[in-house]
Symmetry: C2
Subunit: 217 residues, 2 copies
DNA sequence: GGATAGCGGATAGTGCTGCTATCCATTCAG
DNA sequence: CTGAATGGATAGCAGCACTATCCGCTATCC
């Protein structure tokens, strides 16, 4: 398959494919002559993965390059690949030392030990959580920590479902890629579901028109 | 309070505050003389909200402007504000009609009716979900729909926790803003928790070093 | 065998986003 | 009275994900 057909089959323009190759997101085609290369199914699959991580997962090209490099590195142990993926999903780490930030970090440490989670307070996910909680506290929603355990219950439920899926579904050689897909796209899936459930719960609590309109008109 | 103090107290630079005002994210200060304005606590609070939605929620400035306009419009009923917020959180709607996309939409319709959710197939959240499921299917993970119900259980749990929190915590006049904060920042919170739970579940299943290393060394 | 479409490779440019820099005339604080 | 700060406006910048253009070559079709 040449680049034109690869482009047609994936809906990604030829210059964009070239760009991805340049950026190290996928290997170049195999040269059959000085200016002719052939691409295989692996390229097609990789391209779809890139588009999924970009469009659905909202990742940046540079971060995708890191994750894919980790996936391609067959020496790297699974948990390191996952660590690389998980670490790149979060926001930038703008370290602050507000009182809110400190309190949030303490709450996160508490949560981790209360849950008996094998995570570290210093992990990017924990840092993101602290930042989010600190932001809520600054907005007068410090009490949100009280529902953290409900959130954590749900998070554990999702994590169990993910692991079970990966465990039974994916062949071993694809496991790394499968887990990355599950981690990144699963987030998009859950996020949509949460918004849908939110609308539903709100409708059931307040009626379709919402509380503001109950005495209106 | 003048703009300099507002800047110092929030850590947002003066030109950036001016920029937010220009973009309609917050009202200008009250002019006390032709080139002197005073800002109040409402401005400070608004600025913190903007930074939270930007930095933690990952929203775009233009979308934040829309949401804040909805919040400020006291005529608008709660559910419309929430709709505006929820709709702006998703990705762009790149309509396609792959077989995968069609199948994914069918799966979503199924899910909604199975759950009895008061949502519509055409809502942005449902569209996002379809896109995510279609992307998974294209990557050979069509079987992911089998865990959708586990995800939905968790999503309902989170939505219930959110609603309960808002219901007991927030004064009525702040309810709209509170729900937006909960929706947007709650997503960041859950995302962090999911990644942490993921690491924990993985560690417990495979041991700290992951499966790849069990026979290494 | 000659036109033409496509190719690999490289460089420069584009549109969008979230600011940042600079300038100006005015005004407030010490 | 002087120097810092202010409101208002315009222009510029850095990062990102492409996109356009050009080059010399080659596979392909008639």
């Amino acid at each position: 398959m040449r680049i034109g057909e690869l482009s047609r089959r994936t809906g990604v323009s030829v210059p964009t494919i070239k760009y991805y190759v340049r950026e190290g997101l996928m290997p170049p085609g195999e040269l059959t002559s000085p200016n002719q290369a052939s691409y295989g199914e692996a390229h097609e699959r990789r391209l779809r993965l890139i588009r999924a991580l970009l469009d659905v997962g909202g990742m940046k090209v540079a971060d995708i390059a890191d994750v894919l490099a980790a996936i391609d590195d067959r020496e790297r142990p699974l948990h390191k690949v996952l660590g690389a993926a998980a670490d790149l999903l979060g926001g930038a780490n703008t370290e602050q030392d507000d009182p809110e930030e400190v309190a949030a970090r303490a709450a996160v440490t508490d949560l981790i030990s209360r849950r008996g989670w094998q995570t570290y307070e210093s992990s990017p996910a924990a840092a993101d959580l602290s930042r989010a909680l600190a932001a809520m506290a600054r907005l007068g929603h410090g009490a949100f920590v009280e529902v953290l355990d409900d959130y954590a219950d749900a998070a554990e439920e999702v994590a169990r479902a993910d692991l079970a899926y990966v465990d039974r579904q994916v062949a071993v050689e694809d496991m790394v890629e499968g887990v990355v897909i599950g981690t990144v796209l699963g987030e998009a899936v859950f996020s949509s579901l949460r918004r849908m459930a939110h609308v539903d719960a709100s409708a059931k609590l307040y009626g379709t028109d919402g509380p503001r309109e109950r005495k209106a008109k």
